[in-house]
């Protein structure tokens, strides 16, 4: 039977992976989430508690997908505390996707924290096209690094390199992802840069790519109520993250007044970063 993406599916959490003390991956079976495109998100229902947008994480088993949560607000904490066997509801996947250009040969993927989720899915698509992939994983310090093994395993079949960097140098290279990116740009040419992670990091990546006239795409995050273009809570300038995004290109991003500057609270008031 064909299920619409709007139909709520109740799925059982079959496996939980602890990535760091505050990050977990919950694995479940759901055909629509398995088929999600990179950058798309699910609306995840924690019954009688919350419903939150979560990027669709890959899983190596056919028909399976996952979500990776960092414990922070009410919804993410409730999801973080789910046990194997508990049920959650899903609708989606919603939103647009990272685009891989037809003639792309070599791409740069830069992510931090749970921002790696859509980027790993992107990598899994790029591998099918046999692209040369450089992936930069950034974190504040060693204990915040996760998905390294997953990234290395995933990228094994193609010409690739995985670089880890930490702000304090406690693991991998010392420096921010933007520092690593500017070093990489000295000796490499990339067809496109893809990024997801903390917004100020993405802002740095996008600005640097734009300055070097390299195509760039970023997957953005905003507070969401509906996830489907009705409520307006996810607006970013005149665009909706849920319907026009989550992925925006360098040209769109360079025109935005909100990107890297401000977001909207639950009541719709504009709040500035920092």
């Amino acid at each position: 039977m064909h299920t619409s993406i709007d139909t709520r599916r109740i799925v059982r959490i079959e496996e939980i992976v602890s990535e760091t003390p505050t990050v977990k991956t919950l694995v479940f079976k759901d055909d629509l989430s398995y088929a999600a495109r990179p950058g798309q998100f699910l609306m995840v229902w924690i019954p009688r508690i919350e419903e939150i947008p979560m990027s669709a994480m890959i899983n190596f088993k056919e028909g399976y997908a996952a979500v990776t949560i960092r414990k922070s607000g009410v919804g993410s904490t409730a999801l973080f505390e789910r046990k194997e066997g508990d049920v959650i509801g899903l609708r989606g996947p919603y939103g647009n996707e990272f685009a891989l250009g037809k003639n792309y040969k070599k791409i740069l993927i830069i992510g931090g924290g749970t921002g790696l989720v859509p980027l790993l899915r992107l990598a899994s698509f790029a591998i099918k096209k046999r692209l040369n992939i450089t992936m930069v994983l950034g974190a504040r310090s060693k204990k915040e690094v996760f998905f390294e093994k997953m990234a290395r395993k995933l990228l094994e079949p193609v010409r690739s390199s995985v670089k880890i960097c930490t702000d304090d140098g406690s693991y991998g290279l010392k420096g921010t992802t933007v520092d690593i990116m500017s070093t990489l740009l000295r000796n490499n040419t990339f067809d496109c840069v893809y990024t997801c992670g903390p917004e100020l990091m993405m802002k740095g990546v996008v600005d640097l790519a734009n300055k070097n006239s390299i195509p760039v795409q970023a997957s953005l995050e905003r507070y969401m109520k509906c996830g489907i273009g009705i409520c307006g809570s996810c607006c970013l300038d005149s665009l909706l993250v849920c319907q026009d995004g989550t992925v925006f290109n360098g040209k769109q991003l360079s025109k935005m007044l909100d990107f890297g500057i401000s977001y909207r609270d639950k009541d719709g008031q504009r709040i500035c970063y920092s």
Binding site: I52, C226, I230, C231, G232, L240, D265, K266, R270
Partner: protein, 308 residues
């Protein structure tokens, strides 16, 4: 083709304001951002109605707050989340040419007069008073179901502005026509009909209500025939301009509402599946309709159904 203000075969008169075409944004849909209003205007919308604004900011209910039910119908209990009068008047402070109605919600005359005093110097067309939100206590429909409160609130807003006032009604315990009559007698110029209808959805697997508020309001395709009936009855009995709302998903629905008696028509839930460009698509289709039917102006069809 750009459908601009000069092309007046689609223009309609709502009380003393002229809209370039009868399409409007329904309140609560994408309604908190000036940049979005500008985008909708580039998509040829006739006018926008903002999210319902209250004196203080409101966070609304936890999610789930909006549920797609399938078949183009939706259930929501957002809980009137909005940035409040002061932040919102800053949001609109640079508005020049976007035709905006501000939707107001509150529980006392004092709150309404405070809001209108703040908003009235902005570049806006007028107000829509939300007396029909079916899922927030002491606001919306709980006010709308009390004719004496409606009378006082509308009078208060009237005293503080010379701009057009629309009162948005819904299907509650007081008959819509009665409610509309009280609003008009108190000084309202326009009636908007209808808001969402109290409704509920339960997940059979977990056996739990899905909305955090349990009960919410039904919108989209399912409510269109009720909206058409209300517009028909109100415009026939009261002879005031009526704005139709509820379940519009195509130009045909806009025409149906106008034939029932609507001067303008609001569009809401369908933006979920079609996005802001639906305004441009509908406007172009309306222009075609006017040409095919050999009408000088689309207003010629308003209320034709009253004859039958």
């Amino acid at each position: 083709m750009n459908i601009d203000d000069k092309n007046n075969s689609l223009s309609v008169e709502l009380d003393n304001v002229r809209l370039r075409n009868p399409t409007m944004l329904a309140s609560g849909i994408l309604g908190i951002s000036q940049s979005i209003f500008e985008r909708l205007y580039r998509e040829n919308i006739g006018a926008v109605v903002t999210k319902s604004i209250s004196v203080s900011p409101m966070k609304g209910y936890p999610n789930p707050t909006v549920i797609p039910l399938g078949g183009g119908s939706y259930l929501n209990a957002v809980g009137l989340s909005n940035p409040g009068v002061d932040a919102f008047s800053r949001e609109l402070s640079h508005n020049k040419n976007i035709p905006i109605f501000i939707s107001l919600v509150g529980s006392s005359e004092k709150e309404f007069s405070r809001m209108v005093k703040t908003f009235d110097s902005l570049n806006i067309l007028g107000y829509e008073i939300n007396l029909s939100c079916p899922h927030v206590s002491k606001m919306g429909m709980e006010v709308g179901d009390d004719p004496e409160a409606v009378n006082k609130i509308v009078k208060t807003v009237r005293m503080n502005t010379s701009k057009p006032i629309s009162v948005k009604v819904g299907v509650g315990s007081v008959d819509v026509i009665e409610l509309a009559r009280v609003a008009i007698d108190a000084g309202a110029n326009i009636i908007t009909a209808i808001n969402t209808l109290r409704a509920m959805s339960i997940d059979i697997e977990t056996m739990m209500p899905i909305l955090s508020n349990r009960i919410g309001g039904l919108s989209g395709n399912a409510i269109k025939p009720i909206g058409i009936r209300c517009v028909y009855e109100i415009s026939k009995k009261l002879e005031v301009p009526v704005i139709g709302c509820g379940g519009v998903s195509s130009w045909r629905d806009v025409i149906e509402y106008m034939i029932a008696g609507a001067t303008a028509v609001q569009i809401g839930s369908v933006l979920g599946s079609r996005g802001p460009r639906i305004f441009n698509q509908i406007t172009k289709a309306l222009l075609n309709y006017v040409e095919n039917k050999n009408l000088k102006n689309i207003s010629e069809i308003i209320g034709i159904a009253h004859k039958y």
